[in-house]
């Protein structure tokens, strides 16, 4: 019987060592040095930026509402194309509990002000001066990028291209709290 125990013990030790080595290899294969990219289902990182009136806008202030988070630049043609549609539908959806927040990627106040006036934007526009929100927290690469965040702060969809009017409406509807 003692022999059986010894055999079992040896098998256990060998199995454990092999398992540890396997785990180490799997860890080496899966761990990546690249920065983490946000994915659908992740919690949207909180941020705090100043809007054009100098007022603080925090993402967490909109908990309980859907947030249509749009990253853009004045030099980006598709951003310009979709902006009027976003503006048009933002008003009616604000009443339904969907807030549009718009983040400019580090341009000058002059450019952003001119743009707001040109397109008559009424939702909060913030300039991400240090690019810490867009580049570090949200890892936005192409413009425009739109994140759809539900009432619990979970990212429901990430759109990294220009959206049509119909798309904008259906996306806003998708994060509308009941």
């Amino acid at each position: 019987m003692a022999k059986m125990d010894k055999k079992k013990k040896r098998l256990m030790i060998r199995g454990a060592i092999l398992l540890i080595m396997m785990a180490a290899i799997i860890f080496a294969l899966t761990s990546k040095k690249e920065t983490k990219v946000l994915a659908v289902g992740d919690k949207a990182p909180n941020f705090e930026l100043l809007d054009m009136n100098g007022e603080k806008v925090k993402l967490s202030d909109y908990e309980g509402q859907g947030v249509f988070l749009n990253f853009w630049g004045t030099w980006c043609p598709p951003c310009k194309k979709e902006m009027p549609y976003i503006e048009e539908h933002s008003k009616e959806f604000t009443k339904k509990g969907v807030q549009v927040l718009s983040v400019n990627i580090g341009e000058s106040e002059f450019k952003v002000d001119t743009f707001i006036n040109q397109y008559g934007l009424t939702f909060p526009v913030m300039i991400d001066k240090n690019k810490s929100v867009s580049r570090n927290s949200y890892n936005v690469v192409p413009l425009p990028t739109t994140m759809l965040i539900d009432k619990n702060g979970i990212i429901k969809k990430i759109v990294t291209r220009e959206m049509s009017e119909a798309e904008i409406v259906s996306l806003m509807e998708s994060i509308q709290p009941e």
Partner: protein, 551 residues
């Protein structure tokens, strides 16, 4: 059958060559041979014991030295292939488009380059198969070591002072003869060996003198060092242990530092200093004349900020930590991070100065300067004249869809729409001004004339953090300790015992440096009457130098 009983009564594990206790040869092969293989003391390597379950089979695979050597050869040869062409990391291709990489390798290195790319050698050290290979190497090192060091340790611990004559006879150094007073010889030999710093054990008319058993553990210590090293490399994958990032930051900009969340860097000034002819002596002065300017220093003056505790990304809630001039090899250091000066770009437009001029009289009403990165809306020139900036295009790209457009936010090709308000035209005259181009809706009386521009530089910085460095250092030190331990200490053993009647037997073993072992034996023989020994591998049968002998 798992145990093998020796004649002396000791139970040896299956696969044992020499009895752990008395040293009798147990296998047919060992019994027939004239000299036994003393590697691992003839103990059963644990991998030889059974071959039953899958786990045992995998274990045995990695325990094999042949497999280990094959893995090492595979790692060495693939690693060297990775150095033939530049790795992906060093290829100047922006973005992550695979076709651009393929194009790069094909353009520079032809068909071989294309093949190099397609076989995945272009990013070899991150490839799954290379990582698996390294993992297998680690596994092989651990298992092969365990399988050998444990039985070796056990048998060296269990070894008896009195060995069986069949064990003595099969040693490389062996001698037997009749000695008049064997007790006295043993007594004297014992003392002589002690004087030579041997640890001497006496039992029933037998002596075992042993020295430097410690040297036998060298290879295993060495392997522990390797494992620590591999562990250190593996830990680079844990977030926060290893950072290697680059960032571009223009003068005047504040940016979050990639890889160092919560820290911001402001670039105050970048400068390049060159050697002047005056400060150099005649020889270097000549060299400067020949080569043009020679750079003395690349410097980025920076300020470091930290986001306040609990503040959110994007909020301007930061505290100033320090100001530091980063020069090459003098990085900015904070919280385990080092920021190095790596690259620079000079001459990006920063400000443009204009003068408002009457076209006819060429009389100026004043000058104004536009900050291209943070332009103001109005510029008051005094005396009732002002400029209203109506639009600004940082990187003017022509008219798209009936509107002027900018292709990037970087002021590579600035263009402006001015409304020039003068006492003559209080409502203003509109003018579109780009570099070497002015468009007017109607002919204007006034124009904004470009005077001069200021540029700014950008610093290319590298952010490094390596918490594994000390682990790698520890691995290296342990590795070297193992090498030294195994190289400079030789495990020597001398057995002297009484045989039948007045016969005496003498045998000796060492894992390396047999010459010195024989010298030790000769010294003992000078004081004690002992049998003459022969070295079975010494062909001349004369004591001769056999240096450089290893196990």
């Amino acid at each position: 059958m798992s145990k093998f009983k020796c004649q002396c009564g000791h139970e040896n594990p299956f696969g044992t060559v020499l009895c752990e206790k008395c040293g009798r040869p147990l296998t047919d092969e060992a019994q027939k041979s004239e000299m036994v293989d003393m590697r691992y003391e003839g103990s059963a390597r644990r991998s030889q014991t059974y071959k039953k379950t899958i786990i045992d089979k995998i274990w045995n695979f990695f325990s094999s030295v042949k497999v280990g050597v094959s893995i090492i050869i595979a790692v060495l040869s693939t690693s060297s292939i990775g150095t033939i062409f530049p790795q992906k990391f060093y290829v100047p291709v922006s973005g992550n488009d695979p076709s651009e990489y393929l194009e790069y390798y094909e353009r520079l290195y032809g068909t071989v380059g294309k093949l190099y790319y397609q076989l995945g050698f272009y990013d070899m050290y991150n490839s799954w198969w290379f990582k698996i290979l390294i993992g297998m190497l680690g596994t092989s090192i651990i298992i092969a070591s365990l399988d050998r060091v444990i039985p070796l340790y056990k048998s060296l611990k269990k070894q008896r002072t009195k060995r069986h004559p069949s064990f003595m006879k099969r040693q490389r150094i062996y001698g037997e003869s009749d000695i008049a007073d064997s007790d006295e010889s043993l007594e004297k030999a014992q003392k002589a060996l002690k004087d030579l710093h041997y640890k001497v054990k006496v039992e029933d008319g037998a002596i075992l003198a042993e020295k430097n058993r410690f040297g036998r553990w060298g290879p295993y210590i060495n392997h522990i060092g390797l494992i620590i090293f591999l562990l250190g490399v593996l830990m680079r994958g844990i977030p926060g242990f290893y950072v290697d990032e680059t960032m571009w930051i223009r003068e005047g900009e504040t940016r979050e530092i990639p890889g160092a969340p919560g820290y911001l860097l402001e670039n105050i000034d970048f400068s390049v200093e060159t050697y002047s002819k005056e400060e150099s002596n005649a020889v270097f002065g000549e060299a400067i004349e020949k080569n043009g300017s020679i750079v003395k220093e690349f410097k980025s003056d920076v300020k470091l900020y930290k986001e306040k505790e609990g503040s959110l990304p994007g909020s301007a809630d930061v505290e100033f930590l320090k100001e530091y001039p980063i020069i090459v090899n003098k990085p900015l250091k904070f919280d385990g991070y080092s920021i190095f000066q790596m690259d620079y770009k000079i001459g990006e437009l920063k400000t443009m100065k204009f003068t408002l001029m009457n076209k006819k009289t060429e009389k100026s009403l004043g000058e104004f300067t536009i900050d291209l990165n943070e332009p103001a809306k109005d510029y008051d020139l005094g005396n009732g004249s002002s400029i209203e900036l109506m639009e600004y295009y940082a990187d003017y790209d022509g008219i798209v869809d009936g509107q002027p457009s900018s292709k990037s936010p970087i002021p590579n090709n600035p263009a402006f729409i001015f409304n020039m308000k003068t006492p003559d035209h209080p409502d203003g005259e509109k003018s579109f001004v780009a570099i070497r181009q002015t468009l007017e809706v109607e002919p204007n009386d006034y124009e904004a004339k470009f005077m001069s521009a200021e540029t700014r530089d950008a610093s290319g910085l590298t952010i490094r953090k390596d918490k594994t460095l000390y682990i790698l250092l520890l691995g290296g030190i342990v590795f070297m300790i193992g090498v030294i331990q195994g190289s400079y200490w030789q495990h020597r053993r001398i057995w002297i015992q009484k045989g039948t009647g007045s016969e005496m037997l003498i045998a000796a073993h060492t894992n390396k440096n047999w010459y010195t072992l024989k010298k030790d034996l000769d010294k003992v023989k000078e004081v004690a009457a002992l049998p003459t020994y022969t070295d079975k591998q010494d062909k001349d049968a004369v004591i001769d130098t056999t240096e450089g002998e290893t196990n």
